[in-house]
Amino acid sequence: MNWRGILFLGGRYLAGNRAKTVLLVLAFTLVWLLPAAIALVVGKVEEKLRARASETPLVLGHAGSALELTFNALYFSKPEIATISAKEADAVSATDLADAIPVYSRFSAGGKRIVGTTIDYFFFREFSYEDGRTLIRPGECVVGSAVAAENGIAVGDAIISSPETLFDLAGVYPLKMTVCGVLEPSGSPDDHAIFVDLKTSWIIEGLGHGHQAAEQTDEEKRLVTDAGEEGVIRLNASIEEFNEINADNIDSFHFHGEMGDNPVTAVIVIPRGAKEQALLKGRFESSTTRQLITPSEEMDELFATVFSVQRIVLWLLVAVGVATLMIGAMVFLLSNRLRREEFRHLRHLGASAGTLRGLIVFEGVFVVIASLLCATLGLVAIAALAPFVIERMIG
């Protein structure tokens, strides 16, 4: 076989028909790449989600979508889920069957989730600090490594919470928080979160607030100018509320109503053992208003659905791929029909049947090998980029 001649003439033919060659290579590349890329990305997402889920034994929350509760407690998404009261975390702790860590993952600042929790969460996730320290008082925040890196935030800087609705004057108003610590990267959703004390998140919600002392206010800020017999001064809406908690005004911040009634979106429950876990699950099994879920089981369900959808998508891709390969084969056949005169003349010039067959096969083999190479490179690139993209998408 005259490989040298076949390679030269075949190569020159492909170079002379660049557009056709590139289109065929691209089409074939997609045939190989798409199913492999989907399987790769789904695998990486699964790995990432399952890792977080397996680290979190149980989550307590309001009855409803177990998956939304899982995503809120573990990945700080789905902020709109129904809440339960903070005292329910205390109730779980009081059973001595488990430790309970409340999580209030509802508000955000600059697109990053503000997670209200207790210091126990920091120990549970084994946080370590790149700079600064843990939360000591309301109004402070600890930021994840990605929040700090993306926004150029350092200890001592301030973060202002985003108003939930611009026109809701009575609702959430921006609170200026001081950064007291920056976490080390963990490759988890914690990198993308802003952690605050539960009280801080309730202040953001408007359940607690700080303002001038009533006794020091001017009369025009009072509804009743006289303190009256009960000594109660009622203030009107013109009173200035503090939008920052600092050493000077921290004592003026207060909550109206029971603290235990304030909301949390989820409670992370860490049972003392398997028996305690079973007992706790049993207690909430019949509840119609609460659910105690095992995140890893929710992930099993989620991925069972994902994989069944993936199977359908893969079959569709196989069908599209077969159609593409058939069209490619048709292009080769038509191309060879157009080149029939060329081959006839090469035969007349003295080319052997083997050389002519080699020329015909060369184009197909080149396209298949080139597309496989491109698909492999694409897959390597996707494998390298996937962790960053997935981290951006799900934390």
């Binding site: 005259n2 490989w3 040298r4 002379g16 060329e342 090469l346 003295g350």
Partner: protein, 222 residues
């Protein structure tokens, strides 16, 4: 010398039959093959080139009887001995002019271009007056220039036999004269035998002999 004796050839399923009792062309001479379309001119060239095999009879080119050669050896023989100049140029449009000239080397043996082939390309293109087109693609040059390229390709290996199948059919009279003159001049330079099919009466005067294929078949009198 080219010698055909008791040659019989027919295409399967076709009424056409070529019968040539004896046809001889001396070494170094030039012969114009004439005759109406379909009379077997191209078939005769194909038989001499070994592209087709006769049903019976012999074709001898030089000292070699083609019937004695296997298909593979016949191809090698054709590459070495015969220069083909087709009517429709048959240039590969994805190769440059100079690359087209080297195609006979690329498709034969191990595909290696022999030493000195580059110089031969330059020499032929220079003589054909198209040296300035050596790096152009065939689509970028005129019909007459393309035919010159095809002719140069037929001459690249300095073959002892040149078979030209109406190489002037697509050209204007001026270019016809130039191509034939160039072909015969080059053939004379390398001492090659030339058989050329033509329909142009004006061109016959350039050749040593003019043979009507119908007469060769003994049908002209009928």
């Amino acid at each position: 010398m080219i010698l055909c004796e008791k040659l019989r050839f027919s295409y399967p399923g076709d009424g056409f039959e070529l019968r040539v009792d004896r046809f001889q062309v001396e070494t170094g001479s030039s012969v114009a093959l004439v005759g109406p379309s379909g009379c077997g001119k191209t078939t005769l060239l194909n038989l001499i080139a070994g592209i087709c095999s006769p049903d019976s009879g012999t074709v001898q080119v030089g000292d070699t009887e083609l019937e004695c050669l296997s298909e593979k050896v016949r191809q090698a023989f054709r590459l070495k001995t015969i220069g083909m100049v087709p009517q429709n140029f048959e240039l590969l449009d994805y190769l440059t002019v100079s690359e087209n000239l080297l195609v006979p080397f690329r498709i034969s043996g191990d595909g290696r271009v022999p030493d000195g082939a580059g110089e031969r390309v330059s020499e032929l293109l220079e003589r054909a007056g198209i040296a300035n087109h050596r790096d152009k693609f065939p689509s970028r040059i005129s019909q007459g220039e393309r035919q010159r390229v095809a002719m140069c390709r037929g001459l690249i290996s300095a073959p002892p036999v040149i078979l030209a199948d109406e190489p002037t059919g697509n050209l204007d009279p001026e270019n016809q004269e130039k191509i034939v003159a160039l072909l015969l001049e080059e053939a004379s330079r390398i001492g090659a035998t030339v058989l050329m099919i033509t329909h142009e009466p004006e061109l016959k005067r350039h050749f040593d002999r003019v043979i009507d294929v119908l007469e060769l078949r003994g049908e002209a009198l009928e």
